[in-house]
Every structure is written in C-alpha cells, then in structure tokens.
C-alpha cells in the first residue's frame, strides 16, 4: 500500500536513492542540492542505507570517484548543481564514454557570473551534449518516480549510460509536497541488485580508458550514439513496468490538453505546472491551448513530440537558459530540428527565454505567451522569433 508523505524535491530524490539500494555515493555540497546528499549521509550514518558515502574535495573528484565505483560494479549516485556541474564537466564525458550507469540528481541553478543561487537550466544545458540521459521533473513526485526508473534505465545492458534527474533549484528542491512512495520491497523487486556487464576485477585484468587514436575513437563514440537511440526502447519498457507497479504513467512527453490544441507551450520542469493551470483557465474561455513537457530531454523524443503537435498551428517554446549568440535557445532548437525532420514546416514557432537566475514566471506571464501563440496560430505570422520575458530596458 502506497504511503503519502511530505517531501521536498531534494528529499524525494534522497528517499528514492535509499530505496534503490545504492552502494556508493560520492558528492560535494552545493546550493540548492546540498540537502539531497545531506539526507543521504544521514541515512548512511543511521544505518538505514548500506552504502559507502565518500566525502570528496570537489565535484570533479565526486564524479571521478563515481566513475571508479561504477566500473567496479557498484550502483552509484551523486548530486550537484550549477558551478558544481560545471566543475564536473570533464568527468561527465568520461562517465558516459566509459559507459558508467551513474544516476545524478541535479537541482538546476544559474551559472555565475554574476553569481546567483536560484533556479534556471543554464547548468544542465551547458552540459547538454555530454552523452548523458537527461530527465526533467515537474514536481517532487516525478523526481521520486524518475530517480527509481533512472537506475533501471541506466543499468540496462542495452544502455549503460549515466542519467541526470533534474529538478528546478529551490522551486522544487526546497518546496515540500505530498509524495506517494512505494514500499522498500516493491522497489527492491523492481530494481534488483546491479549486474554489471563488465567490471574491473584484479583476477581478470582489463584496461579502461586507454588511448584511442583517430583509427578507433570515432567507432567508440558511435557506440554511444547507438546506445542513446536504443535507450528510447528501454525507457518505454521501464515506464510500462513502473506504471504497473505504481499506477503512475510516464513517457517521453507529458502532453496536456493536446488533442485539439492549436497553440501550445513547450517547456521543461516546474514551469509546466503553472502552464497547465493557465491552459486550463484559457480552455474555460474556449481557447484551444495545451502544454507539452518533455520529461526526457536526452535522447530527444522527436517522434513523440511530432505526434503531440499533430493539430498544432503555433508553438511557444520556453527556455530557462541562454544559448548566447545562437539563432534559437537549446530546447527551441531541438523542437525546430525535430519538426523540420518530420516536414512540419507549417507549425509557426517562437522562442521565449524566461526565468533566468530564478526570476518567477507567473500565471499572467504565461497567459500572455499563450495569447501570443494563439495570435500566431490565427495569423500565421511570427512577430518576434526570440523574446526575453519580462526583461527590463
């Protein structure tokens, strides 16, 4: 019988990690993620979790320790945010390149300078191409559910790639919500002990991380390309199995009121919650609007996105990070690329950068964006391709 308990986003991920029977946690504290590993360290100290907790001197070392532990066959978790993720950058590529199924909680936070501790997606978007599976949660419940699924996806022999579970800094990391948690035994059954495909073993020596020159490097990288493609099938299977267990249905995309929508907002994370509330109220006025929230950002679920926008005439794609100098920002570029590939040139798209450094995006902000999208749907004209929501002159 599922219990309903009050947990913040950070605590929800920590609770899931405890139930996932993780062997090694190596992490360094950084706002707004600190509580995630603080709670885990308490679990380890209290004996509620039988794991090795490695205190390291930096995030670079945290990820290095995780890579080593993962190669030794352990189930591994770490967490970080912002500057910490930036410091880990080098090791993120090594974790994915060496096919380590590490799971990492990220409480998304703006990058310095100027220094800022609040939520935006600059950190993870800065590491967008690091070869990790990237998941964005809308609330604490989703953070809990995806963390459990993340281990199963990562450790599948067809995948063997690390996963980041992203929650908006403070907005989710520090807000308490009711979370329905599974019983420990249920999680243990869903996620048995990790069975590594290859692991380092003194009795059977192998070399990991050997020099790979132009004659082989390309092929090893292509293995990752293929693994991420295969990940799509694995996620589908894991989502189905998790639905049977929990009764909660997950997929690549959370499509809200999209059946007959002619205009929609595409966004990641907690903003989708507000956008759904606005869409609901606009629907009461008879406006056909919807919300598309990619749960899975990497691998990018092109097919599912295209399916979701079947009847759509205009899309407002929201980015909580800046790709300086780019024609469009990260999420919008991906949406445009996916629609181009499926020859949906009829869909009019504009990009809204919002909420940098944790600035609130309000009900009214989103209402204005929906109205812009509806106008674009009606006229077929995009007045401004990239807008910066609420920035003062």
């Amino acid at each position: 019988m599922a219990k309903l308990i009050g947990l913040t986003g950070n605590e929800a991920i920590a609770y899931a990690v405890k139930q996932c029977n993780v062997d090694v946690v190596a992490a360094y504290p950084i706002t707004p993620q600190t509580i995630m590993v603080e709670v885990i360290s308490e679990y380890v100290y209290n004996g509620e979790m039988n794991a090795e907790f490695i205190c390291v001197e930096s995030e670079h070392s945290a990820m290095s320790a995780c890579v080593g532990a993962s190669l030794a066959g352990a189930r591994v978790f770490t967490a970080t945010a912002s500057q910490g993720l930036a410091l880990m950058h080098e090791m993120l590529y090594i974790a994915s390149g060496l096919r380590c199924p590490i799971v990492m909680g990220v409480a998304n936070r703006a990058l310095s300078a100027p220094i800022n501790i609040h939520g935006d997606h600059s950190d993870m978007m800065g590491s967008r191409d690091c070869g990790w599976i990237q998941i964005y949660a809308e609330n604490a419940q989703e953070a809990y559910d995806w963390t459990i699924q993340a281990f199963k996806i990562a450790e599948d022999p067809r995948v063997l790639l690390p996963v980041s579970v992203n929650i908006d800094g403070f907005i989710l990391s520090h807000s308490m919500e009711g979370v329905r948690v599974l019983e420990d035994e249920e999680v243990a059954k869903f996620l048995p002990q990790r069975k590594p495909v290859i692991s380092i073993d003194p009795d059977k020596p192998i070399t990991v991380g050997a020099l790979c020159l132009p004659d082989y490097y390309f092929e090893v990288k292509f293995q990752q390309v293929q693994a991420l493609k295969e990940t799509l099938n694995v996620i589908r299977e894991v989502n189905r199995e998790y639905e049977v267990l929990s009764g909660r249905k997950y997929s690549f995309i959370d499509a809200y009121a999209m059946d007959d929508a002619e205009a929609a907002i595409v966004c990641l994370g907690s903003t989708a919650g507000t956008a759904k509330a606005v869409a609901k109220s606009l629907r009461e006025e008879g406006k056909r609007v919807g919300v598309i929230k990619p749960w899975v950002y990497r691998p990018f679920p092109e097919e599912e996105l295209v399916k979701a926008v079947e009847n759509v005439k205009a899309l407002a794609v929201l980015d909580r990070a800046c790709s300086f100098g780019a024609p469009f920002n990260a999420l919008c570029s991906d949406v445009i690329a996916a629609l181009y590939r499926y020859e949906r040139k009829d869909v009019k798209i504009f990009n809204c950068v919002y909420g940098l450094g944790g600035r609130d995006i309000t009900f009214n902000d989103l209402k204005l964006i929906f109205n812009d999208a509806l106008e674009t749907a009606e006229t077929g004209i995009v007045r401004e391709h990239v807008k910066y929501v609420g920035v003062r002159e």
Binding site: L160, V197, I198, I206, T207, Y216
Partner: protein, 94 residues
Amino acid sequence: MSEIKAGWKSLPLGGYLLEPGSALKYKTGEWRSFRPVIDQKRCVNCLLCWIYCPDSAIIRLEKYVDVNYEYCKGCGICANECPVKCITMVEEKR
C-alpha cells in the same frame, strides 16, 4: 597497411581493452627520431637506465644492458641518467 580494423559493433564497449598485455602488440619504436646507442665496453651494469626507462625497453644482459628498439621511443632518459655516459643519442636516418 591493409589491416581491416574492427567496426563499432565488434569493438569492446567504451574502448575497453579486455585482454591484458595488449600494449606488447603496439611497436612504439617507429616513433623514434633519436636512438640510444650503448657503448657496452664502458657500461658498468648499474641498471639505472633499466629503472628509469618509461617503456621497459632496456634489456638486461649478464654484464651490460641493451636496448629493445621495437619499443624504445628514443626519449633519451637513459642517456641522461647514465652515470658513466656510455649512452649516446644518435639521429635516426630512415
């Protein structure tokens, strides 16, 4: 070189090397632009070169040492460390 190299499907995952000692197959001697030449009459068999050689390319014989030119990259550390200066670095003329 007409050797057929493995593609992404047959290469071990993540570029792992699953057999130990595979570096033996890689003859790094081709990299050399200077070769160490040992005057074996002057060699005192102190084995400092054998200790310092980063490629284990010094061969121990009974009374003096020799160089394994299949692996020696010609770094010159042996010549630098030799206390009796009996190792000379000679330019390769290939």
